[in-house]
Each structure stands twice: as structure tokens, then as C-alpha cells.
Amino acid sequence: MVALRVFARHVAGLAVTVWASTIIIFGALAVAPGSPIAFLSGGRALSPAEKAALNSYYHLHDPLWQRYWDWLKALLQGNLGTSIAFHEPVSTVLMPRLETTLFLVAYAGLLIIVGGVALGTLAATSRRALDSVITALTTVGLATPAFVAAVGLTLVFAVHLNWFPVFGSGSGFGGRIVHLTLPAVSLALGGVALIARITRASMRTELASEHVETARSRGLSEARVVRRHALRNALIPVTTASGLTIGALLAGTTVVETAFGVSGGGSLLVQSVQTKDFPVVQAACLLLVISFAVINSSIDLLYGWIDPRVRRAAT
């Protein structure tokens, strides 16, 4: 019952966020300068049939709220419109690419959680020298944008060592892993640094707490104290932060996919802005924001599972 209520509240929050983002994304079209049909065609010469299709999809003669409502209804039926550059339904263009993007985000997310928690725990439990080295590394990691990391990684691992390919998205699971490793590492770098910092800080607090002192005085091994008594509690703030961090990776895929020539949803969005393919821009933005909101709320739910106090507080 309680779990259900928490779940319902999250779904409601999710719905509000998604609804607000549809307004922002639809509203963007409304504030575009010039005539909508010229804007939507991106300056291309359109055949009368294409013009009619645009006109009817966007109902350009109707008032704004009516157009928004119709657009929303079409969205709910899975109709994302027609791409102007590809001359295909947006969903045909976008969906396979979005799959690559989600794969990339999952890969990077895994690196962030495993790498960040491991580094943070190491920093919190080790001597001063190693701790300062890790802290310095995380400062640099946080300041390195993904496209600069991409430059460094390409140079070292693709050009000099020749371990990974420079470009492309690969096919099959193995091919994807090989092609997407460098993109995933560049995408994950900032997140690893952030999660390592948060883990270190919260681990330090836990290790100094009374229940850990008690566990030590009962003669438990330090490894067991760290794993069973400190880490589990220390992970609570880490979970919230990783939700936001992993969600933010979705926006980061625009940069990483472009840098590595990966054909995904992020690079498609950037291309579509350059080719003025607005239906694709709208759909890609919307799906990225929805994925962001879904990932965020799922991790919030997970938070309740890790910390029973949150579950109880919700009643």
C-alpha cells in the first residue's frame, strides 16, 4: 500500500515534468521568427504535397492552443511527425539511433557507479597520500568536458595504442562494446569524479560514526566493517546523486556521439539542428527529456528501497 502510494507520487511528478517539457518544446516552435512553414521547411523548396502534409500535421491555420493539443494527441498515438531531411517518419529515423544512445548511457552509467564508488571508497579508507592523489584526479575529472576527454582518449588509445576504433557505432553486442568503450569512458569521466567525491565524503562520515566504532570494537575485520556497516549507509546520498548524474548523461550524448561519430539520438539531434529538420529536433529533445525524467524517478524509487526510513516517511 505504502509502496504503491510512493510509486503513484513518483509517476505524478514524472507526468508533470514531461508535460512541462512538451510545453517548452512546442513553445519553441511558436516563438521561432518568420513564417512557420518557411521555418519548418528550413529554407528548402517543398513540393505542394509536402507543404500540405506539414500544414496538416502542424495545423498551421488553427490557433496555438489547438495546435498544441493536436500535436500532443498525435504524440500519444506514437506519431512523431515526418522528418524533412530524411523524408521518413521521425520514429523510423530516431528509434534505432535512440537504442544506441541508451546503450551508451547504460554503459557509461555502469562505469560511473562501479568506478565512482570504488574510487571514493578507496580514497576514504586509504592513507593521506593516496587520498590526495584521488582528490586531485577528481578535481581534474570534473573540469574535463567530454569532448576534451574524447580528444585525449582518441589520441592515446585509438591512434597510439590502436586498441579501439576512432569512429563508428559498431554492430552486434561485441562490436558495440568495442566501438562504444571510448565514448562511454569520455561520457562517464565527470560522473565518476563526482560520485567518487560524494562517496568519499559520505564514507568518511560513516567511518567516524558510533555504529562503525561499535562494529570495530566487536572485533570485526576492517574489510567487513567497511563493506557491511559503512558502505551500505554511505551509499544513500550516492544514490540520489547518481540518478541526476546518469540522467545528465543523456544530454551529454549529443557531444560524445558527435565527437566519436557514433550514429545515435544525440548526434542526430545536433545534425538536425544544423540541417533545420525541426520535427526531428522536437522529437529527439522530447525523448531525451522523457528518458532523463524516467531514469531520475526510477533511481528515486531505488532510494526508497535502499533506505527504509524514506519508505516509512512517505506514509
Binding site: 517539457s21 517548452i24 568536458p145 589520441l155 544530454a251 539542428v273 544544423q274
Partner: protein, 291 residues
């Protein structure tokens, strides 16, 4: 009867330059990043006097050259002097986040103080607005804005100001609400102080340390976002030099043995952001200690 007065600690009363000097000596950790940032900013501000060449001077007889006496950092794929392009490029790279920080700082603080002061439905509306904007990744907002208004400095700056306003506003709002409930505000109000007077003379100075820390960090983050947009071709447009643009322009050189352009521009971005975020974190620590 003693009324809790809002006397600022003595340190705040000294001249700001004296303060800066005293703090820098007391904290060498702040001095080094401060000097690094100051030097880079100075170089870029004085670009016409410091840069050895015109940044857009093409020399096709001398492309992709390494370091030499004539070109200290070498040249790019069309023979433009890299050092000069880096110095001029810093101007846009460093200016955009400054504008973003100022804009988001003013808008965020104004919304937050309005929210905290009036409370009620206005507070609810502003807080929800912050939440919703916060859920919309800044770079996506900027990409959407570029799709609509075309790429360029103005579009990018405007979109990032909107994206960073809740980032500043959320923290300022919670701090202002906390301060508003402290006895000194009701004391000032009881003494007959006007709302505007209490805002500008008491509330604003007391939330200032937190605002400053948050703005310094916002500068670092928005620099990364702006550079990423320029890298994508959606921000500063070539041939205007910009560090993000240069990383992108240097990419073909990575696989053909001329990685200098991307490397130098990327390194400068990292150096500036590391220095600024060290300063920001210090300010944040101090703001929390000062509470």
C-alpha cells in the same frame, strides 16, 4: 532589552582589496588558482597587444607546422598562428560564461528573494518553475534555442542564462527563507525598516557569500557547456576563434599526427575550469562555515 543586531563581522568592513590580500596570504591554496585565472584573463583581455599575429591570418605555405621561433605553438590546418588564436579565442570562451553568470545571478537572486519574501502561492509558483527548468538539461535547452533562433553568442548566452537561473535560484531561495526567519529580520522590521531597506541592507548582504560561491561554480560549469556548444558547431561560429571551436577544428589532426590545436585548446579549458572550481569550492566551504 537587547535586540539582535545585524552587525557585519569586522572582516566585511575592511576594504575589499585588503580583504583579498589578507585572505590570499592566509590561504596559499587560493593564491595559485587566482594567479592562473588572472594571468589568462589578462592575456585574453589584452589580446591585440599580446598576440603575435592576427588570429585569422591564413598562411597556406605554412600549415600544421610545429613549434618554431616564428610560431611558438605552431600553426593550424590553414596556417593560422595557434598561440594568437588561443589568446583571441579565450575572449569569447571566457566572456560567454561571465555573461551567463551575471544574468543567471541577477535573475536567480531576484526570483529567489521575491519567492522567499512574499511566500504563499508566488513562492510555490517560482519554486515549481525552478524544479521544472532544473529537470530540463541546460545543454538541451541551448540546442533547442539554437534550432529556433540560429547559432551564435546571443542565443547561447540567453539559453544558458535561463538554464542556470534555477541553479542559482534554488540555493539562494532556501538560504533567504532561512535568513528571513532569523530574529534580525523581524527586529529590523519592528524598528520600522521598509521592506526594500531590509532587502538591500540586511537580507542581500547576508545571502551574498552563498550567492558568490554558487556563481563562481556556475561560471565553471557554464564555461564547460558553452565550450561544448561551440564544439558542436551550435555556439560561436568559425572563423571566430574560440577554444571549443578549436578543439573541433583540430579533430582531423588527431589521426594525422597534428594533435596540437585540439590538445592546447582542450588543456586551456581544463586549466581554467580547475582553477575556477577550486576557488568556488573554497568560497562554498567558507559560506557554510560562516553560517
Amino acid at each position: 532589552m537587547s535586540i539582535p543586531a545585524s552587525v557585519p563581522p569586522p572582516a566585511l568592513r575592511r576594504h575589499w582589496a585588503t580583504n583579498l590580500a589578507r585572505r590570499s596570504i592566509a590561504e596559499p591554496g587560493l593564491l595559485l588558482p587566482g594567479i592562473v585565472v588572472a594571468l589568462i584573463v589578462l592575456c585574453c583581455a589584452l589580446a591585440p597587444w599580446v598576440a603575435p599575429y592576427d588570429p585569422n591570418n591564413v598562411d597556406l605555405a605554412n600549415v600544421n607546422s610545429g613549434s618554431s621561433a616564428a610560431h611558438l605553438l605552431g600553426t593550424d590546418a590553414v596556417g593560422r598562428d595557434l598561440l594568437s588564436r588561443l589568446i583571441y579565442g579565450g575572449r569569447t570562451t571566457l566572456l560567454v560564461p561571465l555573461l551567463v553568470t551575471l544574468g543567471a545571478g541577477i535573475a536567480g537572486t531576484a526570483f529567489a528573494l521575491t519567492s522567499a519574501w512574499f511566500g504563499g502561492w508566488l513562492d510555490y509558483l517560482i519554486a515549481r518553475g525552478f524544479d521544472i527548468l532544473f529537470a530540463f538539461p541546460g545543454i538541451l535547452l541551448a540546442i533547442l534555442a539554437t534550432a529556433v533562433m540560429g547559432p551564435g553568442l546571443a542565443t547561447m548566452t540567453l539559453a544558458l542564462v535561463i538554464a542556470y537561473t534555477p541553479y542559482v535560484g534554488r540555493i539562494v531561495r532556501s538560504e533567504a527563507i532561512r535568513q528571513r526567519n532569523l530574529p534580525y529580520v523581524s527586529a529590523a522590521s519592528l524598528q520600522g525598516g521598509s521592506s526594500a531597506g531590509i532587502w538591500t541592507r540586511h537580507l542581500l548582504p547576508n545571502v551574498a557569500p552563498i550567492v558568490n560561491a554558487q556563481l563562481t561554480l556556475a561560471y565553471a560549469y557554464s564555461l564547460l557547456d558553452a565550450a561544448a556548444l561551440s564544439f558542436l558547431g551550435l555556439g560561436i561560429q568559425p572563423p571566430t576563434p574560440d577554444w571549443g571551436v578549436m578543439v573541433s577544428e583540430g579533430e582531423p589532426g588527431l589521426t594525422s599526427g597534428h594533435p596540437q590545436e585540439s590538445l592546447y585548446a582542450g588543456a586551456l579549458i581544463v586549466i581554467v575550469v580547475v582553477a575556477v572550481s577550486i576557488i568556488g569550492n573554497r568560497l562554498a566551504d567558507r559560506a557554510e562555515v560562516g553560517l
